[in-house]
């Protein structure tokens, strides 16, 4: 026989204005199994909680129903109070007679009756409640940061400075990401490299950070606090410990005409190369696709000239396993491919370039040493057109949203151009100028007013070449849509920045312990990327602040049964494919000789979020959720129906 306590809260007048709380307590106090029932003005207040605790002790209650507000509001409060009185917190349930009753009904006897029904249902449920214990999960206090751009660097440094180990994985031979390609940054026109490179060096030298460049994450297993990650370290054809980074090999390599990715194809690099002079680590890799030795089987000039004999032609990819407790995804973005804009001649005309390529032209360390010269003939363009929103906010291209940072970098491009080519005329085709941010609007104004940039509101319809000029056709919608034609020497497309998808299944970003930072989540500028990265780092640091994670035990469980069946599961594993958290594992049931009799489902308590999808799909009803078992929910329904 149960000894349940019912505590009806007035919630000031929130409940008592329409529900007769005294009557609810009196009637439900007569229910079978209810030992004690009372009402109080504010159950959640200190005296209210004391009343509850005293009653538990005095009446030796083995279950509690608090009839008050939504459990989302005060369930933790009352469960904690129960625990303090020595009652297992999961024997306490809340009956929501505020949002589900008093707030939505008028003052009436029926409203009070409904409140009684809601309490009765919960009393029946509590009778079936079981004492549960919190789940403890150990935490590996090492973080994995995927991506070595500004977001990844910031996150790694913040976590490392909190005293935790960090493993950083970067796909390229150097960290730095897109920010290292930028010339100057808006709105202050700081040199991008000058801000970034000290941070890159800090990452490389930080005692808490292990850096894996030219590497990719192959797989992620496990759960919050306990991930197992496979990292593929691609072969650099180099012994990094011997290499001093003298760079002799890169100057002697006979392959010199490989389009340089870092320069957006505007310059060339050899087959053994360091992506840019300030690279971290400043050690070369061999691009096997273009290396003469790997193509023709002979050359090895780099091996001959290397003073430390560091070249390793037979080096193979290495796959390493690491254990981490948290993962920060900072995989960044990519610029849209050239085939996206056939009407703009992007990829067809050499002088139609994208924003990142313009950054390289404007960069002091770029292919033109910072002079704006057009790619086709090296001439200085006198008329230049910047096309904002190239690809974004265009449902016809399938990208309806704003890529956010292009307004600002286009204004910056126009300003940089005017600073370098004083007699040149920059034109900007725009849809709206979105310059929300500290000093952003002022920056755009400066571009328009001081640097005399011609802003034209309208989309560019087409660009074609005629007599060595690029004819840009568009309309000025502020002038009633009159057609505009500009004979330009060069065109810069503010192309859409597509966030690079994390190399995980999309659902896994729902997974606890995996955080996002930077532009892989949505288009972000540098300050936003840094802020998001620091945010992710704090989440990681908070996770690492305890040796164990404590979780509510309201997770799924596969019911056991007596031999010879052992478990009610039949092992069809349909639950495994439906689980969004990959929390279903395979458990081998063995006999006393150690032979596997059958393979059945088991729930990983660390991964399970208690969503209940497996429960709904399980045909044998072998899976239950602690706290919301089939039996409990069924009992609730029957209590309502068997009034």
């Amino acid at each position: 026989m149960s000894r349940i306590g019912v505590f009806v809260c007035h919630c000031g007048e929130n409940i008592s204005a329409t529900v007769n709380c005294e009557k609810v307590a009196k009637i439900t106090g007569e229910l079978k199994g209810v030992e004690f029932a009372t009402d109080y003005k504010y159950m959640c207040s200190d005296p209210g909680q004391t009343l509850l605790k005293e009653a538990i002790k005095e009446h030796k209650l083995d279950g509690v129903v608090v009839a008050a507000c939504s459990p989302r509001m005060h369930e933790p409060t009352f469960r904690k109070a129960c625990a303090e009185a020595g009652l297992n917190p999961f024997l306490c349930e809340m009956s929501n007679i505020r949002e589900h009753c008093s707030w939505v009904h008028p003052k009436d006897d029926l409203t009070t009756e409904k409140a009684q029904d809601l309490v009765r249902v919960m009393v029946e449920k509590v009778k079936k409640n079981k004492a549960l214990n919190s789940i403890k999960v150990p935490v590996t206090k090492t973080a994995l940061v995927v991506g070595g751009g500004i977001a990844g660097i910031q996150a790694a440094l913040d976590i490392a400075n909190c005293g935790h180990k960090v493993i950083m994985v970067e796909r390229q031979p150097s960290i730095g990401g897109h920010m290292s390609q930028l010339s100057e940054t808006f709105p202050t026109l700081d040199c991008s490299q000058c801000i970034l490179t000290p941070r890159m060096v800090e990452v490389a030298q930080h005692p808490n950070i292990t850096l894996h460049t030219y590497s990719e994450v192959e797989s992620v297993d496990g759960f919050i606090g306990n991930f197992k990650v496979k990292i593929r370290k691609k072969s650099k054809s180099l012994d990094e410990h011997l290499c001093t980074g003298c760079g002799l090999c890169t100057t002697k390599c006979p392959q010199k005409k490989i389009p340089n990715e870092f320069e957006r194809g505007l310059g060339f690099r050899p087959a053994i190369y360091v992506p840019f002079p300030q690279a971290v680590p400043n050690k070369p890799v061999i691009d096997r696709e273009h290396c003469t030795y790997y193509i023709k089987g002979k050359c090895k000039v780099c091996e001959i000239v290397c003073p430390t004999k560091a070249i390793r032609f037979d080096q193979e990819d290495e796959v390493i396993d690491v254990a981490v407790g948290a993962i920060v995804m900072a995989t960044g973005f990519d610029v849209l491919k050239t085939d996206y804009f056939p009407e703009y001649g992007y990829g067809k005309y050499a002088d139609v370039i994208d924003g990142l390529a313009f950054e390289r032209l404007a960069s002091a360390s770029g292919p033109t040493q910072g002079e704006i010269r057009r790619p086709s003939d090296g001439q200085i363009p006198k008329k230049i057109v910047f096309v904002a929103c190239a690809g974004s906010r265009d449902p016809a291209k399938g990208i309806e949203y704003c890529s956010k940072i292009c307004c600002m970098y286009t204004a910056k491009h126009a300003m940089l151009y005017k600073h370098k080519v004083h007699d040149g005329i920059p034109y900007v085709f725009y849809m709206d100028i979105r310059a929300g941010g500290k000093n952003y609007e002022e920056f755009v104004r400066r571009t328009i007013v001081e640097d005399e940039t011609q802003y034209i509101r309208g989309r560019v319809s087409t660009i074609y070449e005629k007599n060595g000029k690029l004819i840009v056709k568009g309309a000025d919608t502020l002038m009633g849509g009159i057609p505009i034609e500009i004979e330009a020497d060069m065109v810069v497309l503010a192309t859409f920045f597509a966030e690079a998808h994390p190399k995980l299944k999309p659902v896994e970003t729902n997974t606890a312990g995996i955080f996002l930072a930077g532009a892989c989540q949505a288009p972000k500028d540098i300050p936003e990327s840094v802020a998001a990265a620091s945010g992710a780092a704090v989440k990681v640091a908070a996770l690492f602040s305890n040796d164990e994670l404590t979780r509510d035990p309201l997770v799924a469980v596969v019911n056991r049964s007596a031999p010879p069946v052992y478990s009610q599961c039949v092992g069809c594993f349909l639950c495994q494919s439906v689980c969004p958290y990959q929390a279903i594992e395979r458990e081998e049931i063995k006999n006393r000789n150690g032979e596997v009799i059958k393979t059945l489902a088991r729930v990983n308590e660390g991964l399970c979020q208690g969503c209940g999808t497996c429960v709904a799909l399980c045909r044998t009803k072998a899976i239950d959720i602690h706290g919301y078992s089939n039996q409990q929910v069924y009992t609730e329904i029957m209590a309502l129906l068997n009034d």
Binding site: V565, Q568, V570, G571, C572, F573, L574, C575, S577, V578, T599, L617, R619, T620, K621, A622, N630, Q631, Y634, T635, M638
Partner: protein, 267 residues
């Protein structure tokens, strides 16, 4: 001595299998299943046009599993049952030796899942035309007419669970019907419980039924139970492009998500 008897004798002799599930003559001109373990039992094996039962249901029975490595005489529906059971991790590749009876009485051996998959791709696995006619009739009915039709059929049900025992996909050792904490399905064979039971069974077979028709054949009250599950085959095919029992590593249509799944059922 027929090919079948020769083949099974050889399989038993060289210990490829411990038992073979086939057909033997039953009482009153009926055919029944036989579990051949010894050489003298082999002689009882028969194979003729009346041998139509899908024997794969037996593969999942505890008593049969205990016999050791099994061989089975299969028809098309049985091959599909094996594929579906494999996709639900109930049979491992190479675990069951399959002899397929061709229309001309010759035998084809299948020792792995791959060869069964290849065979099924070029085989007619559809529903028989007379059954298709029945389904068309059901679909032509108004919802109310269909409701009355099935209620009338389920009135006959005596809850003997022969359909469940015959179905190769009803392998759960504890059926929802048998769960009594809570009691999901009323046990007595009254109208409401009968409807609950058959709807539950149909839902549990959605996307899994291999249209062998064993449920209807087994029913002593002649309820056309197969139509209930057959009716779910074409919507699943149309909505998720999935057909049960064609691939050993198929993912269950109702438990997996594909980005191009139709979502027009979401209001």
């Amino acid at each position: 001595m027929s090919d079948l008897i020769k083949k099974v004798t050889a399989l038993l002799n060289d210990k490829t299998i411990n038992a073979f599930i086939g057909y033997e003559k039953g009482s009153a001109n009926r055919i029944r299943a036989i579990f051949v373990r010894t050489e003298d039992q082999v002689q009882k094996l028969i194979l003729n046009a009346s041998c139509t039962q899908n024997l794969t249901g037996y593969l999942m029975k505890h008593e049969v599993k205990k016999l050791g490595k099994l061989g089975i005489l299969a028809n098309v529906a049985a091959l599909r049952s094996i594929m579906q059971l494999a996709s639900e991790f109930q049979i491992k590749d190479g675990e069951v030796y399959v002899l397929f009876a061709n229309a001309d009485g010759s035998l084809t051996e299948f020792t792995d899942f791959k060869s069964i998959e290849t065979f099924l791709q070029t085989t007619d696995t559809g529903i028989k035309s007379e059954e298709q006619e029945m389904i068309a009739k059901l679909e032509a009915m108004t919802v109310n007419e269909r409701w009355l039709f099935w209620n009338k059929e389920f009135e006959k049900c005596i809850k003997c669970y022969a359909c469940r025992a015959a179905c190769p996909m009803c392998y759960c050792h504890r059926c929802t019907t048998d769960v009594n904490q809570p009691q999901w399905i009323p046990v007595a064979s009254h109208e409401l419980g009968n409807l609950d039971y058959h709807l539950m069974r149909a839902m549990h077979l959605a996307g899994r039924c291999v249209n062998c028709g064993e449920c209807a054949t087994a029913c002593p009250m002649d309820i056309p139970l197969n139509l209930l599950t057959y009716q779910l085959i074409s919507p699943i095919k149309a909505t998720f492009d999935a057909t049960a029992g064609m691939k050993a590593d198929a993912m269950y249509a109702l438990s997996t998500y594909k980005p191009d799944d139709k979502e027009n059922f979401i209001i």
